[in-house]
């Protein structure tokens, strides 16, 4: 299944988490060369967990760019902690990834 790339870096007491997801993010409004509408296919919900605790829950529409990137920052993160990102799209497909904070 699609990859989830995560980078988590401690800086100035905060942990900046950057995530890059692989997804077509079709809005449902585009047409293929034959003029047929391409059905909507986009991530709907993204969750970010710190040591298993839900920290960020995001709802997305099709207007997030293809192969979505996002970043958030967390307090109270220590070296060795686990950051996990997982998503589910409008077709029920899911993917996830995790990293240990260095």
């Amino acid at each position: 299944m699609s990859e989830v790339k995560i980078r988590a870096a401690l800086k100035d007491g905060k942990c900046e988490v950057k995530a890059l997801l692989t997804h077509p993010m079709e809005t449902g409004r585009r047409k293929d060369p034959a003029g047929n509408l391409i059905p909507a296919h986009h991530i709907q919900t993204v969750e970010l967990l710190h040591n298993g605790n839900l920290m960020v829950e995001a709802d997305w529409g099709g207007a997030i760019s293809t192969n979505p990137f996002f970043s958030v920052s967390l307090n109270n993160v220590a070296s060795g902690d686990t950051i996990e990102v997982r998503w589910v799209d409008n077709k029920g497909e899911t993917s996830s990834g995790s990293v240990k904070v260095k």
Partner: protein, 159 residues
Amino acid sequence: MKPQQQRRLFIKGTLAGGAVVAAAGLGLIQPRLVLAAWPTDAFHSNSLEEALNKVFGSSTLEASDKVVLKAPGIAENGAVVPISINAEQLENVESISIFSEKNPTPLVARFKLKPGCVPEVSTRIKMGESGDVIAVVQAGGKLYSATTNVKVTVGGCGG
């Protein structure tokens, strides 16, 4: 109720229950993730005001310089417009949302943040044409906003 009807109900109940168990067994049901309610109405709203009302139950925004919205003045490619929002000057931030006024459906994304998050978010969005990008920060029961205009030279939603 006739015994036959009762038997039908029982069979129906068993089948429905069985489907749930089978789905759980296959790992199709991940608690929270799949069951979380994606706000369909809000994402399908085609005006900014309607989208705001569907998300927050209000469309009253208070423009605030404590919401720092960064977006390019000119986006050469509407398919990838980098947006970042920082609301560190506000306390008890519950969510940060992004709207693109001219998109067919203005609501782009909403990030709900738990205590322990720094209230800042960055992402990349699609814009169909030039227009306002609005960041809405929900904090202490109020809606604070910042707006910036982005000129798009090539739209991001064309076919």
